[in-house]
């Protein structure tokens, strides 16, 4: 039974006086209008970044991995740092769309579509790094277990790096299916209100012929619920497996059991920061402040302060365990992290990830949009440094002092990283133009319980006695 009542102490999730039709109009408007000048500037800037990235990758593939700054001591540099960073960003999208669905959090409906698009694009960017890190990228398909003419020689299923192949590709596929199954009814909405022939045909194709019969919706609900149930352990497993890349190897600084939960918390932390960065821009550019409200931003900031604090505890636990273990290699690794030649990266990580999110304990700052925007970027810089610290500062001084080394990136590495920004934002700009950035059907579903104008009608209900209310709701649908 779905009660048409929600306490007025809860903030409305949809502001303004919205009807079902107004919701459709507001969300479809950016798709049906010519894009603004700002959109064109952003899009072409992203495309040029992407092209620079393509050139950097071409340079690396043509000349070989030697054009990168990595060396025999530091085999993983910016590439794997960026890989972990991008995968981590993706996690917030799945958290919003899957875990918050299972917890029946109505506020997810305003942000889940864009957050999940972010997941898919972030995973696309992440995947590039391990693939091109292989060096002979034309042999990349060797990681797949297919019956080949080399024996058949199978990949090592006991390797954490192969687990990654399975985890990332499954994660991408399932996220894409989950996202698209939610998009199908919304594409049908755009198809049915399309004014031009081309739009009618393209959205007709994309909407799979959806008409919204009662049985179709029943199956759609069942599908969403099961996909959410599958995605929840999946998203936890993905960053767990990414952390296994490090935790299963015997490198001081990597070989710890705290890694899986620590990585997952960090992933959600940086992911929510990226969702904030994107949605604060989207709500401004497309004038969707009534759907992505201050209440949404505040809730996400609460997640940021929670996960940021978990990450902070994990950093301190690592330091404690290094001391308490009594292993001098472990102790040395952490001592050099803090005070060694890479001290700046450790302290950048500490100040951006642990200290700065603590500002969000203040309600005024949680609801301050410009402050949130700046913080969201600070957090992602911090989380990038976290991965850099874990990877580079665990490798650069290994067991033989003769092989100690220092690492700085070269231009193709930086270009590759910038290129993935280009890929990410090119995809995101196209998404914002051609896809409904807010789940239309899902907003309509919560409108009558959480819409501002409907919530105002709750006041007379609140004055009723419990018996009277229960009696009326008995037959309500």
């Amino acid at each position: 039974m779905h009660l048409k009542y929600e306490s007025s102490t809860r903030e409305p999730l949809v502001e303004g006086n919205k009807t079902y039709h107004q919701v459709t109009e507001d969300i479809c408007k950016p798709i049906e209008q010519k894009p603004s000048r700002l959109w064109y500037i952003g899009f072409f800037f992203s495309i040029s970044l992407l092209l620079f990235g393509v050139f950097s990758v071409f340079w690396e593939v043509y000349w070989g991995i030697g054009v990168w700054g990595i060396n025999r001591t530091i085999g993983w540099g910016w590439d794997i740092t960026n890989f972990v960073w991008w995968v981590g960003i993706g996690h917030a999208g799945t958290l919003i769309s899957a875990i918050l669905l299972l917890f029946r959090q109505g506020w997810r409906t305003g942000v889940n579509r864009a957050a999940e698009a972010m997941t898919i694009f972030a995973v696309m960017c992440a995947g590039q790094f391990p693939i091109f890190h292989m060096g002979r990228v034309w042999d990349a398909f060797y990681v797949l277990p297919y019956p080949n003419s080399r024996g058949p020689l199978w990949p090592n299923f006991n390797s954490a790096l192969l687990w990654d192949v399975f985890a990332i590709s499954t994660y991408f596929t399932v996220s894409l299916l989950f996202w698209y199954s939610g998009l199908v009814p919304d594409f049908a909405t755009i198809r049915d209100r399309a004014k031009t022939n081309l739009r009618k045909r393209l959205y007709g194709l994309a909407s799979f012929g959806w008409t919204g019969t009662a049985k179709n919706w029943q199956r759609h609900e069942a599908l969403s619920l099961v996909l959410a149930g599958l995605s929840t352990p999946l998203v936890l497993s993905v960053h767990t497996i990414v952390s296994f890349d490090f935790a299963t190897s015997v490198i001081p600084g990597w070989h710890t059991t705290i890694f899986p939960p620590y990585f997952v918390a960090g992933a959600i932390f940086s992911g929510f920061a990226m969702v904030q960065t994107l949605l604060i821009m989207v709500r401004k550019i497309f004038k969707l402040e009534e759907y992505i409200t201050l209440a949404h931003i505040e809730r996400m900031n609460k997640v940021i302060v929670l996960t940021g604090s978990i990450v902070g505890v994990a950093y301190l636990t690592e330091l404690f365990m290094a001391w308490y273990s009594g292993v001098e290699y472990e102790q040395a690794a952490f001592q050099w992290r803090i005070l060694g030649p890479y001290w700046w990266s450790y302290w950048a990580m500490m100040s951006c990830n642990v200290i700065s999110p603590q500002f969000f304990w203040f309600k005024k700052l949680r609801r301050n949009v410009p402050f949130t925007f700046i913080m969201s970027i600070v957090v992602n810089i911090g989380m990038w440094f976290e991965r850099f610290v874990i990877i580079v500062t665990s490798l650069y001084r290994d067991y033989i002092p003769g092989s100690w080394s220092y690492y700085s990136p070269t231009w193709p590495e930086v270009g590759f990283y910038l290129g993935t920004f280009g890929l990410f934002f090119t995809c995101f700009f196209l998404f914002a133009k051609y896809f409904p950035v807010i789940a239309i059907a899902e907003i309509k579903f919560i409108l009558k319980t959480s819409g501002n104008n409907y919530k105002e009608q709750m006041a007379p209900i609140e004055e009723k006695s419990v018996e009277e209310f229960a009696h009326e709701m008995e037959h309500a649908h």
């Binding site: 779905h2 459709t24 058949p152 299923f157 985890a167 209100r193 919204g212 019969t213 179709n216 352990p233």
Partner: protein, 190 residues
Amino acid sequence: MAIKKFAVACYDDEAVLFPAIDKVRNSGYKLHDVYTPFPVHGLDQALGLKETDLHIAGFIYGITGTSTAVGFMSWIFTKDWPINFGGKPHFSLPAFIPITFELTVLFAAVGMVLTFCYLNQIMPGVKKHVFHPRQTDDTFVVAIELSEHTSEAEVLAFLKSTGANETNVQVAESEWWYGRFDKKEAYELS
């Protein structure tokens, strides 16, 4: 595939739709289908639809993924090409768990989505008749299938009495068809 004649009633709120559905079901007219712009909870009970078995299909696909992964990796490492990794056992089940889990999820998700598309008869390029262009926007549509014995005027008057703000008779394809989006088919409203 059949061209049929329908009496169509459009409602502007789900609160009007529920009593109307009860009346239509009690009237003895043949209810073709109900179209809503978003999932309306309680609609399946009101229509007497039984719960979908889609999740059972998902479970079967998941189990298939689990056994595929465990079976395949065990066969490779114990029979097809056993490799000695640092003296560890060939059948090292704990190390198989990550891939087993991923394949379980992958099989379940892909299988369920394909089953979902098959059951709903949806696919890129598939077309279905849209009774009202705003049935995916803010209009709740009830379609009643007419036979040659039904009196159109009577049905329309009945539908009006249930609170419909728009009623009409349409001759349309009742199933799906494949082809280009046909403006005439979908937008004809009388």
